[in-house]
Symmetry: C2
Subunit: 280 residues, 2 copies
Amino acid sequence: MSQASKGKSGSDALPAREELAGLLEKARQLSAQTRCLIDQALARGISHRLKADSTFVTDVDLAVEEHVRSALSGWFPSHGILGEEFDACNPDADYQWIIDPIDGTRSLRHRVPLFGTILALHVRGQPVLGVIDLPGLKRCYSGALGLGTWCNGRRLQVADLARDDTLEQEILSIGERAQFHKAGKADVLEHLYRSHPSVRTYCDCFGHCLALEGSVGAMIDPDLRLWDVAATPVLAREAGCSFHWLRRDEKSRKGGCYDVVFGKPRVVDWVMRLWNRQPF
Amino acid sequence: MSQASKGKSGSDALPAREELAGLLEKARQLSAQTRCLIDQALARGISHRLKADSTFVTDVDLAVEEHVRSALSGWFPSHGILGEEFDACNPDADYQWIIDPIDGTRSLRHRVPLFGTILALHVRGQPVLGVIDLPGLKRCYSGALGLGTWCNGRRLQVADLARDDTLEQEILSIGERAQFHKAGKADVLEHLYRSHPSVRTYCDCFGHCLALEGSVGAMIDPDLRLWDVAATPVLAREAGCSFHWLRRDEKSRKGGCYDVVFGKPRVVDWVMRLWNRQPF
């Protein structure tokens, strides 16, 4: 029951399978190039500066986003591009590429090898294609509507918990504590810790990829911008995961404000009941 | 001021530099072999069972420990061997090899690629040589007294925080929440979270290796058995880290009970003040 089948004709038509496959191939090529840029930068040394919003940006973030923008503008001059570090290009176009050049800048700065590059295509607001590349693990997660989710050459298919599997055996992955506080969900985090024996801070896109593999039962990631989560909905659903927006505020700031949970369906259901059960 | 220089003669003499270099080379060879065993097992599929102490063991833990024991017994028949999964061999020998075949069995079972194999040599109770191999990252951390700490072919030297660096910019790495509870230190964990903006659960030997790289300011790891931490003291000190035992109870159970902190000296000092400041 691919979502692509909904709108094959009419003004809300999504790209046909062949077009999507071509776009996915281009996105994978780009990710191979950004991985080279990042590996070279790590070998050379990275400089960083504090941005106006009190987060850091490195010269690698800027170089990777410039490279991706330049390639996409050459291939698809009519498409829009939205990225973390520069202004939006063609913001009214139906096809919007969304870039997070380094998701996990704090990890990159400290050489924790769990950062990644995110690239996604949304068509009239719907995520249709996504790539998350993890240079430190040499793993590229990619997929598109109806085409499945892949890690390098291996197709991913997450199995739900079997009836006799207990939730306690699963690892739950979460973003950093500060994200829960900023989202006004510090109490949910406390309740998660009290309710589950293995909650680990596998933050940023590394935690997303662990959920796509079924290595964690669910990833719970609040207070995201659009580029942090642009690739995940299509990758998660194509891998057989449940994906839910717990908050979807597109307007309140640049990049919006999103809280998400995704993973094995039974685990996601459990998290959603806990998330919505307030006050504790 | 190498600790080896203390006892070059007399009954408490530590191995000479040349002997240590030879032993380290053997330990590195063994780690290359265990990595192959683990990679093959991951490709083939892993089975597991619950142990009497309610933790899991996999067929990989057993196969790796058996392989290491067999090689060590052949090379050094008079040495002792202490491992997590089998009985001690030559427990009264001066030279004791300590093995954790899979540190992070929960991660291995779930294919989170952050588990590792630990091998250490203690001479009359003093850690003199250590290897931590991370198959998922293809990184082998190894070193010995006076010979430095290395990651693959790169020597590690952790720089302390400079005077104008703030502690807030560092990532702190911790073991799982349950370890703090078992160690009776749940209040320390809460205080860590309240006092520092970036505390992440990089548990098991992956967190140890991040501290050896200087990627995290410190690793705080309570409720360990000897094999979990057997390689770390020598690797940490040879890499320029501070290393402190917060608890060192060798007798209360098989493998003892240890709480440790190690990393950049100024960060470790801060953690130790917090650890010892009770009640909060």
